[in-house]
Amino acid sequence: MAPRLRTLLLVFLSLAAAACTPVGSPSPTVSQQPSISAAPSAAAHSVYPLTLTDDAGRSVTIPAAPTRIVSLAPSNTEIVCALDACKDLVGVTDFDDYPAQVASVTHVVIGGTVDVEKVAAAQPQLIVAAGNELTPSAVIDQLAQLGFPVLSLYPHTLDEVGDDILLVGRAIDAQAGATQLVASMRARAGALVAAVGSAERPRVFYEVGVFEGTIYTAGKDSFLASLITLAGGDPITGDPASTSIQLEDLIAADPQLILLGDAAYDSTITPASVAARSGWGGMTAVVDGKIIVMADDLVITRPGPRIVDGLEALARAIHPDLVP
Amino acid sequence: MSTGVATAPLVAAQGLVVGYPLASGGRREVLRGVDLALTRGELVALLGTNGSGKTTLLRAFAGTLHPDAGSVTLDGRSLGDWSRPALARRIAVLPQQLELPVGFTVAELVAMGRAPHARRLFASTAEDDRAVARALLDADAADLADRRAEELSGGERQRLLVAMALAQEPDLLLLDEPTLHLDLAHQVGLLSAIRRLRAQRGITVLAVLHDLNLAAGFAPRAVVLDGGRIVADGLPDEILSPDLVQRVFGVPVDEARTTEGRRHLALRLD
């Protein structure tokens, strides 16, 4: 009995260790490495009923152009508003803070929990959810069973953010706006990448949080890691599942630059407090004083239309001389 | 006992060998070949030292212990061939003590004795109700019917246990040291009641007792166990001699005669 359970645990461990990318189906345009593709061809009008495949691989049918939209994640809200459909929003989350006009929209997600009754009461014609269990798949199932079209978005790379915006554009018949937005985003991103492309890549540690001794950072092959790479850095990454990294591994990796994402929300975290942490003093970044507060953490970690602002903030932090 | 006419025994042990498994592996044989038969309506006292196998023999008769060798039969059929409910309709055990669950009344506990006879899914039959009433009356516990079991005194508990056993309407009643922890009045009262019940209902009784004189007054037949074997079986007056007592129990006794002529054994202390 006991030996069998032990074996079982070992199997789980090795599987967990071997896990690479977070799972999800590739978005309509297959493109896994951090790269920029060319702008798509001129946009058309969506024809309804319209069937799309979302990032979770689900086939979603939208009967008519949606005029009542519910968003279950702040990034999705930003996408909808960027496509000029802010007025169509009938439900958002209580974490939504951009743009300012969403403050008056009913909250259907409170404290991270989706209130299915409130969503049903709003009778949306399209729900934009977040993948990878940010919106629990059971909730997505329930909403789909109630008859609402649910589009689940989960971009792994910068490129896929653009693809998601195009997808939403098709869904709400805003293809022209989507194409324009994505084109300008990609152009800007392309320019940034070109500017820092040939420079030497410093080892960058992006601190997401430190709680009770556990250090959270960009997971291996995660979105954040790919952004840092695009921004001209060499990201130090943590375990892909737990996104944590052990202190000794961090010391061994020896970051040349530390970016404090958590300092944007916690004023007690400063370069001085980080330098004072025991065990951190020997890192090159600390010795050289290269610890930067990332006030723009929100746009860096929210995969929406402002993501290129995030890329720019990262690039500026990593290569201040190349990005004014 | 023997009336000259061959009467088939109600319950009989033949060549009974019973043991318990030891923690170290292996078995400890407690009964080493016991032959004991009881005919209907017999009243038998079972005597012996601690560890001689009295309780083991009783449990073998109850069907709780399975023999390593030999057999115990009821109405000619081996106990192992009887289903548990069928056995419980014929044999009742009065245990030395019973942990009574809290919250039940005496009547409710006595009604549990009807379990082997239960016919209906949720209710009791008229027959069940009558048996319970009779059991309480015969056990002299009718006035206790509505009392909570946990509030009873020692003597009252004993009456409850008797009533529970009687509710089963058994043919064979097995008592395991029923007079332990009872004061004199209750001892006399209980054994007198058993004798009366045997007369009224025709129950066969096998009682493990430790008081030799009490046993002699109680039953017309005594069986003495020593080291897992029967060493004496017969009229108490005849078999319970100072000789036997010295041999089996290892204590010297003096004998006297009561005014009725019964033998009485007096312990000799130094």
Binding site: F12, D115, E133, Q145, A241 | P85, L100
Partner: protein, 368 residues
């Protein structure tokens, strides 16, 4: 008084009188209906009582009522709240029944339905199911995959719960007997090992930690008609088979040997009771996670109110357990959609302390 009556009729009617049975069970049924109506009528979105009644009448009873309510209201009442309330009732009734059975079977007043390993096994199964897409990318079963209409999580939870108890039972067997103390200790040991496995998986869970926590606390948010279709027949069968065993449970309270002398095949009955109660518990856990305190507190409360006789106790536990959880879930919904297990813990724990202090007999054990 009773003796006199018995003397005249020669009969002594024992057990709860018809009036008492009617009051307890009838009362329980009424409470249940009221709880159900209230739980369906109230929620985070206001739907008028009139509309609620009309919708239920129209959809459930097929009454030809002209539609004066909105589509949203109908969806909320019939597709969101009703299955959830029915699930709460099924789960609450099942847990309370299983708890009553285990407390008698194990002769332990601290026993709950999960005590011999069901929770630990079901948790490990469910969390493995929740984590499968992360751990084994090839198993990237897109959300909404199902087997027989049930999710991977439900199937693994059910199998985990049942399998663990079978394991614990087999390990506890010595010389063809399963002593109650051994069963308890083995259950504790096996649960500890499996709990370690659960903790390990939780560490690697990343994004899914919230979902895992919700499952462990127990939640009715995933209630759906499909799960009810799976659970209802299983609970009906195990419930019925347990309720008719009231006599045997009463006998077990006397102890193994006395029960045997009263005609019970003790080992067989213990196995049957364990398996039936575990079937009910595993079914419930599969669709709602490990909701605590209902299975522990409801039997105690009822025993204090109506006594330990299982004839009334078993059906009463089903009725009152169902009502309790339906109302607790209403509280959970109004508190912002927290897992209902949090509500039952918040109410149950202080209540239990109160019970302990109030009833001095409890220290001796309502089950001796």
């Amino acid at each position: 008084m009773r003796a006199a009556a018995a003397a005249t009729t020669g009969r002594l009617a024992v057990g709860p009188s018809l009036t008492r049975t009617a009051i307890v069970l009838g009362g329980g049924a009424i409470v249940l209906v009221v709880a159900m109506v209230v739980a369906v009528a109230v929620g985070s979105v206001g739907v008028s009582i009139g509309d609620t009644a009309a919708i239920l009448g129209h959809r459930l009873l097929g009454l030809p009522i002209p539609r004066t309510w909105s589509v949203g209201a109908e969806q909320i009442i019939f597709d969101v709240r009703l299955p959830r309330v029915l699930t709460a009732m099924l789960v609450g009734g099942g847990l309370a029944l299983a708890g009553t059975v285990f407390q008698a079977l194990l002769r332990n007043p601290m026993a709950d339905p999960y005590i011999i390993g069901t929770a630990a096994g079901a948790s490990l199964g469910a969390i493995a199911g929740l984590m499968a897409p992360i751990l084994v990318p090839a198993l990237a079963i897109g959300a909404g995959s199902s087997w027989l209409g049930l999710g991977v999580v439900q199937v693994l939870a059910f199998a985990g719960g049942l399998g663990t108890v079978l394991l614990v039972y087999a390990v506890s067997r010595t010389n063809g007997r399963v002593p109650v103390v051994t069963l308890l200790l083995t259950g504790y040991a096996v649960s500890s090992v499996l709990a370690a496995g659960v903790a390990l998986l939780m560490f690697f869970s990343g994004q899914r930690l919230g979902a895992i926590f919700g499952w462990l606390m127990g939640s009715l948010a995933n209630a759906r008609w499909l799960n009810l279709a799976f659970a209802a027949p299983l609970l009906a069968i195990s419930g019925a088979l347990l309720v008719i065993r009231w006599r045997r449970l009463n006998l077990l309270l006397l102890g193994d040997e006395p029960a045997s002398h009263l005609g019970l095949d003790v080992e067989r009955e213990k196995l049957a009771l364990t398996m039936l109660a575990t079937l009910a518990t595993s079914t419930v856990v599969a669709i709602s996670g490990t909701i605590g305190f209902v299975g522990l507190v409801v039997p105690h409360l009822l025993r204090l109110a109506i006594g330990p006789d299982h004839r009334l106790l078993l059906p009463a536990s089903i009725l009152f357990g169902a009502s309790l959880l339906a109302l607790a879930d209403l509280g959970a919904r109004l508190a912002g959609g927290v897992p209902v297990g949090i509500v039952t813990a918040l109410i149950g724990a202080p209540f239990f302390i109160y019970l302990l202090r109030r009833s001095r007999d409890l220290s001796r054990g309502a089950v001796a």
